[in-house]
Amino acid sequence: MQVLILDIVTTAAILFAVSCGLLISFGVLKIINFAHGAFLTIGGYSALVVTQMGWDPLLAYPFSLLVGLVLGAAVERFIVKPLYDRPLDAILATWGLGIVISQVITIVFGRGVQFVQSPVTGAVELFDGSYSVYRLAATGGAVIIGGLLALLMHRTRLGLNARAVIMNENLAQALGINSSSVRLIAFGLGAGLASLAGAIITPLSSVDPNMGVPWLVNAFMLVLVAGSSLLALLIGSVVLGGLQLVISTYGSPILGGLTIAVAAALLLRIRPKGFVLD
């Protein structure tokens, strides 16, 4: 039981880390970045570059965040911005971009699985058994990311502007907020966080050109049920991630693999607001 709770907490934390970047860009731009999986992959390969250069494995995190930020901002300017008034086309364009990114990675790094150095390894004794240190560390990382994001959104000018745009873009513009730059920063930050998450999951995941794909649908669904609220994303990650784990443990992992997608779709049908409170 204790292990199950621990599993749920760590799973939810990893889901949160993987989805929060998507949430930021979805909240502000109202489009789903279908290249999210590709940005996770970019993060994994950023960590690979750090390993290959022989740098300290801890450097993988700031490095991947930076790479994601820069690429994300470029994508926003050149691909997403022209499609502001065509949201479905924007998700298609980001989908196409995802294809391009994974092919470029394939051509540059090869199709194979890569080895990435991890800063922490091994297991720790916990509840009459051993538990993965890295899962615990990743949980800590997710908590830090979530905390910093909450601070950013609620304690800074940028966050205030972002929240204004999330609530009512026209009104925000009327109040003199440059929504174009808020969008740029939000998309860049979203991509940066996705890339960071990609680096965070490398010790648990395979680093290959398609590493982001399996996370994609779960991240989409979590963001849809979370609307644009970090708190709702946290609730969604815990509830749906927990449900997935319980179904995998007591039912079958195959059903478990579909749990988040199916449960979220049903939830949205019954309660379109998802996990957003009020």
Partner: protein
């Protein structure tokens, strides 16, 4: 009263000989193709034809109706697996062929119905719909994978006996089927129903307020396209004698979207040509350099979405047409001009005058979170009344209209419309109760012609046809008066997007009048119109209230206008009714002066 439009003849008759000739040539080609083409190409083409059939369904959903779907592959897979499963586990005989085909189509249609229920509820965001269609193939693939020896799991099923036909026959079936499907789709998209799809894509909200359940239309469309995709899958499995999980998968689903996008969404030739061309070219090229091929496809796809949203085939088509025109070999079709023929057919059964309330609102409230927009609204209006809702900006006038025409809008309170208690019901139910709503900003269908917009507005009285377009437009007298006076009748064939702002307003008003409502809710109906037009609209409204016993709710800023036509004025302030009385009561009221003091003079437009 009817307006005859000589330009919109029944589609079948308007099929020009040129298009007929093309169809005939293609039909012959589908018969002789396999004898003249290289066998490898024949093999590739047969598969491409099946793919193109599914791509057409994606185009109908996405290009025409605006439903971005990644899930059509699942219906294709269901059809394919129906054949494979029945032939493998039950056996093969002619009866089984029908069982498999009918069973596959039935399952596909049922699943599509389920998806429709899940995705197309009133108010669902297009993003949610897209993601649901993405989840569908993922679930389907997982089910196939976990099916063990029953479904063949990842290896798929192979070696089952299939319908025994030669390669020529398969070519003719696939090509002929695609041709028939394309022609049928062409007829459909050019029919009144087809225009409805475009209307949903352009402006789903307006469809709802024309009494059309767009959710139901989309669900039926999805079910129909699922049936077509399942049939294509069935044919594909019989031809290739193999099924595999990837046929149901989302990679194939997205590939279909890519083909349609590159070919040209919203056209029929584009997706068909695009699919065949890309699939054949990839058969020749991708074998040797798969990654570069995918990179190229991905890049071109992004480029097309960004710069050529209408796709490549229409661009090529325009280029050729432009060239032909320059050398004088091609003329654009004549712009349709509508001819009006008055008919003795007036408005059907004007409402009998009764004193029963048209609208009975009690304790209505609307809150956004902690913000209260409307509070304790109590109002009863009767047929024959022309009630103007006035008040400063932000008083809640438009919100009130919204709460009366969409059952999901209000937070609490009861609304009774013509004796029908309004539950949590979508706008099209309110239309059925007799409500006609005109929006503040002109709300029409940009891609449709004036005549088409009006025809859709008549859907509740004359069901839309799926195969033809009516020559005659029967409209109630008030609508015709608006149309004639504003000159809309001179431009019946013009797309609404090309209309001036005032003309759009007039068009929307005539569409609402075409609904033959008993309660009219008009949000600044005369904004943007000339003084003369405004007068005319005023006359019409007064007439409707007086003679036809309409109950009219008017949101208006122009006090002169209000004074001229209203029988009653309701003043809203901070979400409450502060005054409800005759024109004289309100104009002389000190309270009203105070209400408007903070936000400009009463009667002054924002």
């Amino acid at each position: 009263m009817a307006i005859e439009m000589t330009s919109t003849a029944p589609i079948i008759r308007s099929l020009p000989w040129g298009k007929g000739a093309v169809v005939a040539v293609l039909a012959v080609a589908s018969l002789i193709g396999p004898y003249v083409l290289d066998p490898y190409l024949v093999n590739v083409l047969i598969r491409s034809f099946f793919y193109a059939s599914v791509a057409l369904t994606v185009d109908l959903l996405w290009g025409y109706t605006g439903i971005l779907t990644f899930g059509q592959s699942t219906f294709f897979g269901i059809g394919a697996y129906a054949a494979a499963l029945v032939f493998t586990h039950v056996g093969f005989d002619p009866g089984m062929v029908w069982l498999a085909l009918v069973g596959g189509v039935a399952v596909a249609v049922a699943v599509a119905g389920l998806v429709g229920w899940l995705a197309f509820y009133y108010g669902a965001s297009p993003l949610y719909i897209a993601v649901v269609t993405l989840v569908l193939p993922i679930v389907a693939t997982q089910l196939v994978l976990s099916g063990g020896t029953f479904t063949g799991s990842s290896s798929g099923l192979v070696g089952f006996t299939v319908i025994d036909l030669g390669i020529e026959a398969w070519f003719s079936i696939a090509a002929g089927g695609l041709l028939v499907l394309t022609v049928a789709t062409w007829i459909f998209v050019n029919s009144e129903m087809g225009r409805l799809l475009v209307a949903i894509r352009d402006n789903e909200q307006r469809c709802q307020y024309l009494g059309i359940s767009s959710s139901r239309v989309k669900t039926y469309l999805m079910m129909a396209t699922a049936a077509v995709a399942a049939m294509a899958g069935f044919g594909y499995a019989n031809f290739t004698m193999v099924v595999a999980p990837e046929m149901t998968g989302f990679v194939f689903g997205t590939e279909l979207v890519i083909w349609v996008a590159l070919g040209g969404r919203g056209t029929l030739i584009g997706p068909v040509v695009g699919t065949i061309l890309l699939d054949v070219v990839s058969a020749y090229l991708s074998g040797s350099m798969p990654f570069v091929w995918k990179l190229a496809i991905g890049s071109v796809f992004v480029g097309v979405i960004l710069f050529l949203p209408n796709g490549l085939v229409p661009m090529v088509g325009n280029f050729i047409r432009g060239g032909l025109r320059r050398v004088g070999m091609w003329w654009p079709e004549a712009v349709a001009v509508a001819d009006i023929t008055p008919m003795a057919h007036g408005i059907e059964g004007a409402q009998a005058y009764t004193d029963a309330p048209a609208l009975d609102i009690s304790h209505l409230e609307k809150r956004f979170g902690s913000l209260t927009v409307l509070e304790d609204i109590n109002l009863v209006t009767r047929p024959g009344e022309l009630v103007s809702l006035v008040g400063p900006n932000g008083a809640g006038k438009t919100t009130l209209i919204r709460c009366l025409s969409d059952g999901f809008e209000r937070t609490s309170g009861s609304v009774i419309i013509n004796g029908n208690t309004l539950d949590r019901q979508p706008p099209y139910d309110c239309v059925a109760f007799g409500v006609g709503r005109k929006f503040q900003a002109a709300n029409v269908f940009d891609s449709l012609t004036v005549a088409e917009c009006l025809r859709l507005a008549r859907n509740r009285h004359e069901p839309l046809s799926a195969i033809r377009r009516s020559r005659v437009l029967n409209l109630p007298e008030p609508a015709v008066r608006v149309i004639r006076t504003t000159g809309l009748d001179k431009i019946m064939g013009t797309e609404a997007r090309h209309l001036s702002h005032g003309m759009k307003q007039a068009l929307e008003l005539s569409m609402v009048l075409a609904l033959e409502p008993s309660i009219l809710m008009l949000d600044e109906p005369t904004a943007g119109l000339t003084k003369a037009e405004r007068h005319l609209i005023g006359d019409i409204l007064v007439d409707l209230a007086k003679h036809d016993a309409f109950c009219i709710l008017l949101v208006e800023h122009d006090l002169d206008f209000v004074r001229q036509i209203s029988t009653r004025v309701v003043v809203l302030h901070h979400g409450r009714i502060v005054l409800d009385g005759s024109v004289a009561d309100v104009v002389g009221s000190e309270l009203v002066q105070q209400v408007y003091a903070g936000s400009g003079k009463f009667g002054e437009r924002k």
